[in-house]
């Protein structure tokens, strides 16, 4: 480990033995952290490693249970965000707190001294945003802005306080690559001015690209301090996950068997004004195959899942066949009875009810397909809570779901652990067809690798798997064949070995030139 203290330079912010207990659970356990002036410091860690808790203590949102925070060498106790700002700490949260109905200037003014006039703030914000390459029009309404522009408001709002340290919580998770590049330029400008940045992320490539030093957390403890540029992604991941991230193991899956999922020229009209219509979609997935569907977000992936799952049936009964049976008009539980399983993209409120226990969430997906095991009393349909709880425990064990009690609420689990449960809930019944939308979205590296391996193993055991994903690395890891969805149209499927990244990129935009034009126009407007 590289010690951070041998630079001689006094740290801007030091943290010594900082601990935060929730009950008996230590979210942060004796954390040491040093941030030098003018450095971009990465805070790396899996979901649930304690990054957010640590940052909340630095910003005065949470109070530490024990330990010390030193600001420019002096011990301080930060009891509120206001106090953190007075010290010179600014924070940009992952989830913005903006009023959509107000203008950019008004939103910024709300967080500042009420005595300063709105026009002065707008002026300052405009000049500041220009200086840092974050173009913003103070008169625009927030509702009309893109996510990237909204983030700029948060950053400008933090910069107006003239902070010495800016904390960014997963800033690129909501940005397009171009927007992210622009953000990085801004961060370098801040660094050049001698400001420090604490950059929270679990994207290793970004951290290597822009950060001077990284502190890695795991299970609430510091597992390493390093210069990310000296490390390889694998060594960084090792510090994050504790062991080498299991490389997903995919031997030849053998020759594919019979067609288990067959979709023939299926079309589906948009349900809402913002939905994408599916146009003439065809695909067929055989036993032992993993068909990955690539595409840029918002090109019909959600709609495709809705239709494949039967949450929204299609009019043409023969357009979709599961194991040879027409299911176009069959609803989700009928399709489950044929051996299909489904994992939606959105964990909270779609795949799971956050306020309900894990066992209730197991029942959510399987009450009908496993009614012999889980229900008693004939038509009365009395729930056999004992059997459901036992199955929940089994799934948690198989998928290594880390949880805080016997049967906690779904909302209390970290994203990765809940996703492992949601995937495990389907795998537990060995579905012959599995349709997964964004299986590892916002999931830490360890959980992601476990989920991907499980998908491959399922295919190997003779099931047909459809993975809808925007993550090309994931797609190349799991897919035996790849198709691309664009504007609601699905390309032919190609064997995974024959497709290059460039080719997929072409398919994503190539089917329809209008997509590209639209996005270029959007960018131009963006830049004013």
């Amino acid at each position: 480990m590289v010690s951070s203290q041998d630079q001689g330079e006094p740290s801007l912010l030091s943290v010594r033995g900082l601990t935060k207990l929730f009950g008996t659970f230590a979210a942060c356990d004796g954390i040491d952290l040093d941030i030098a002036p003018g450095e971009i410091h990465a805070l790396l860690g899996e979901n649930g490693a304690g990054k957010s808790t640590l940052v909340k203590m630095l910003f005065g949102v949470l109070q530490p249970s024990s330990g010390q925070i030193l600001w420019q060498g002096k011990p301080v106790s930060i009891s509120s965000p206001g106090q953190a700002r007075d010290l010179g700490i600014g924070m940009v949260f992952q989830h913005f707190s903006l009023f959509e109905a107000l203008t950019v200037g008004e939103n910024i003014a709300l967080s500042l001294d009420p005595k300063i006039s709105l026009s002065k703030i707008s002026e300052e914000a405009a000049s500041l945003s220009k200086a840092y390459g974050l173009p913003l029009d103070p008169k625009m309404h927030v509702a009309d802005l893109s996510v990237g522009e909204r983030q700029r408001i948060e950053i400008v709002r933090a910069l107006l306080q003239n902070p010495k340290l800016i904390i960014l919580d997963e800033p690129t998770s909501v940005l397009t690559p171009q927007e992210a590049d622009r953000l990085f330029e801004t961060l370098f400008k801040l660094k050049a001015e001698g400001r420090s940045v604490l950059y929270i992320s679990h994207r290793l490539d970004e951290v290597q690209r822009i950060c001077d030093r990284a502190t890695v957390l795991r299970h609430g403890k510091v597992t390493g301090v390093c210069d990310p540029r000296q490390e390889t992604p694998a060594s960084l991941a090792r510090m994050m996950v504790g062991s080498d991230v299991a490389a997903v193991h995919r031997e030849d899956l053998g020759t594919p068997g019979e067609v288990l999922l067959d979709v023939k020229s299926m079309s589906f009209a948009p349900r809402t004004p913002f939905a994408v219509s599916l146009k003439n979609v065809s695909m067929s997935v055989r036993a032992g195959e993993v068909l990955a569907i690539a595409g840029v977000a918002g090109n019909g992936q959600g709609e495709l899942f809705d239709v494949l799952s039967g949450e929204y049936p299609v009019a043409d009964h023969d357009a979709i066949k599961i194991r040879g049976t027409s299911v176009g008009r069959t609803r989700i539980n009928g399709r489950r009875l044929l051996g299909a399983g489904f994992v939606p993209e959105e964990r909270h409120g779609h795949a799971a009810v956050s306020q309900m226990s894990l066992s209730d969430n197991l029942l959510l997906a399987r009450a009908h397909s496993d009614r012999k095991a889980f229900l008693a009393g004939g038509l009365g349909k009395v729930i056999r809570h004992g059997a459901v709880k036992a199955a929940t425990a089994r799934i948690c064990q198989v998928m290594d779901v880390r949880k805080s009690g016997e049967d906690p609420t779904a909302g209390s689990l970290s994203g990765g652990n809940l996703q492992k449960f949601i995937v495990g809930r389907e795998l537990d019944r060995q579905p012959s067809v599995l349709v997964v939308n964004q299986p590892t979205w916002g999931v830490d590296a360890g959980a992601a690798s476990r989920i991907r391996q499980a998908l491959i193993d399922l295919a190997k055991s003779g099931s047909a798997v459809v993975v809808i994903s925007q993550d090309l690395d994931e797609i190349f890891e799991v897919a035996t064949s790849i198709a691309v969805i664009s504007e609601g149209r699905l390309s032919d499927a190609y064997p995974a070995g024959t497709l290059s990244l460039e080719r997929i990129g072409l398919l994503m935009g190539g089917i329809h030139d209008s997509t590209q034009h639209a996005s270029h126009a959007g960018e131009a407007a963006d830049a004013h």
Binding site: G82, R331, H368, V382, T409
Partner: protein, 361 residues
């Protein structure tokens, strides 16, 4: 100094348990304060209001008579609210149930049969259920807001009853009073005990509460209610239909309100008249929330709210204040129940520093 609500890491089980009690204590305190401002002795008045009725066999019977419709309606509403359907029109379904249930005894006074009473009760339930089906239809077909439609239907039902008892159904020998003929003895819901007037509606209420408690706790249907109430999209993923749930929840609560209506008319009044309810359908909303939308809790909260009716009558008689005071108590109680429920998810923090307004998350 300012007061901040800070979200708790998880729902507080302690406050979930004591919140209704806390609300009761606050209601009593502010009720006493109100009496004191009116120049009455707060302790003595509260005693007359809430304690005295409990020491008299007659008023205990009255308590049960008033609690029964409240509980019957409230358990239905609890299921409805849990499924995220907001039936505010139970008063109308109560009235409509009373009307449809009274069709047989009013129009066929000559029919004397043991089947009469069960037929009346079933028709009352049907009437309430169908009347609640109107907002269900409007919601599922036209996406209208059931809060508004169910509430507006209350006034239609009440005016319809008013027209019936003044017009076509008026008792010809009734000296022009707006009432129907008195029901035949076979159409009267029997009393439970010899000691007083309490009748079978109380049994219906307890049975309904226990049955619905069992459904919510142990049956897939109850699970469906909770899932669709908390996350409609997840309900669809589970294969549950939110449209069918709208129909189920509204018609179930309508049927129970209709049963309460015909039971009240048949058991307590004995004929139809323009006013058959002191606002049971609205008070039951308070009962449902005070009972934490839990059917067993609702039995207790139904008794508490019934006591405010009795206390209002007692206060009118012995202290000489308007019986509108019971409405004031009910309002106070609802206000404090909802406020105290906030403490389950939030804690109150007093911030003394003069720091600036926070805009951060």
């Amino acid at each position: 100094m300012r007061i901040e609500l800070e979200r708790r890491a998880r729902a507080s089980t302690a406050f979930a348990a004591i919140s209704p009690l806390l609300a009761l204590v606050l209601t009593l305190f502010f009720g006493g304060l109100m009496f004191w401002l009116m120049g009455k002795d707060p302790v003595a008045t509260l005693y007359t209001f809430f304690i005295e009725p409990l020491f008299d066999v007659w008023s205990l019977h009255e308590l049960v008579i008033k609690a029964a419709p409240l509980i019957l309606i409230a358990v239905g509403l609890a299921i409805c609210f849990r499924s995220n359907n907001w039936n505010i029109g139970a008063e109308g379904q109560f009235t409509m149930g009373a009307i449809t249930g009274s069709i047989l005894p009013v129009l066929m006074p000559e029919w004397h049969s043991a089947a009469l009473l069960p037929a009346m009760l079933i028709m009352g339930m049907l009437g309430g259920a169908l009347y609640a089906g109107i907002p269900a239809l409007l919601k599922t077909r036209f996406n209208t807001n059931e809060i508004l439609t169910s509430l507006m239907l209350v006034y239609i039902a009440q005016l319809f009853l008013d027209w019936l008892v003044r017009g076509p159904w008026r008792d010809p020998q009734g000296y022009n009073f707006p009432k129907t003929i008195s029901f035949a003895p076979e159409a009267i819901l029997p009393e439970l005990l010899d000691s007083g007037r309490a009748h079978w509606a109380a049994v219906f209420a307890i049975v309904a509460a226990i049955a619905l408690w069992f459904m919510m706790r142990f049956m897939l249907k109850g699970f469906e209610v909770s899932v669709l109430g908390q996350a409609e999209r997840a309900g669809r993923f589970a294969g549950f239909s939110s449209k069918k749930m709208v129909w189920f929840a509204l018609m179930l609560s309508g049927a129970l309100a209709g049963l309460a209506g015909i039971s009240e008319v048949s058991g307590s009044i004995g004929h139809l008249q323009p006013s058959i309810s002191p606002g049971y359908g609205f008070t039951a909303i308070i009962v449902a929330f005070l009972g934490r939308l839990n059917p067993i809790g609702i039995i207790a909260s139904g008794l508490v709210l019934a006591l405010t009716y009795l206390g209002g009558e007692a206060a009118q008689l012995s202290i000489g204040i308007s019986d509108k005071i019971s409405r004031v108590f009910q309002g106070l109680l609802l206000f404090f129940v909802l406020s105290c429920d906030t403490l389950i998810l939030y804690r109150i923090r007093l911030v003394f520093s003069g720091s600036k307004t926070e805009a951060g998350a």
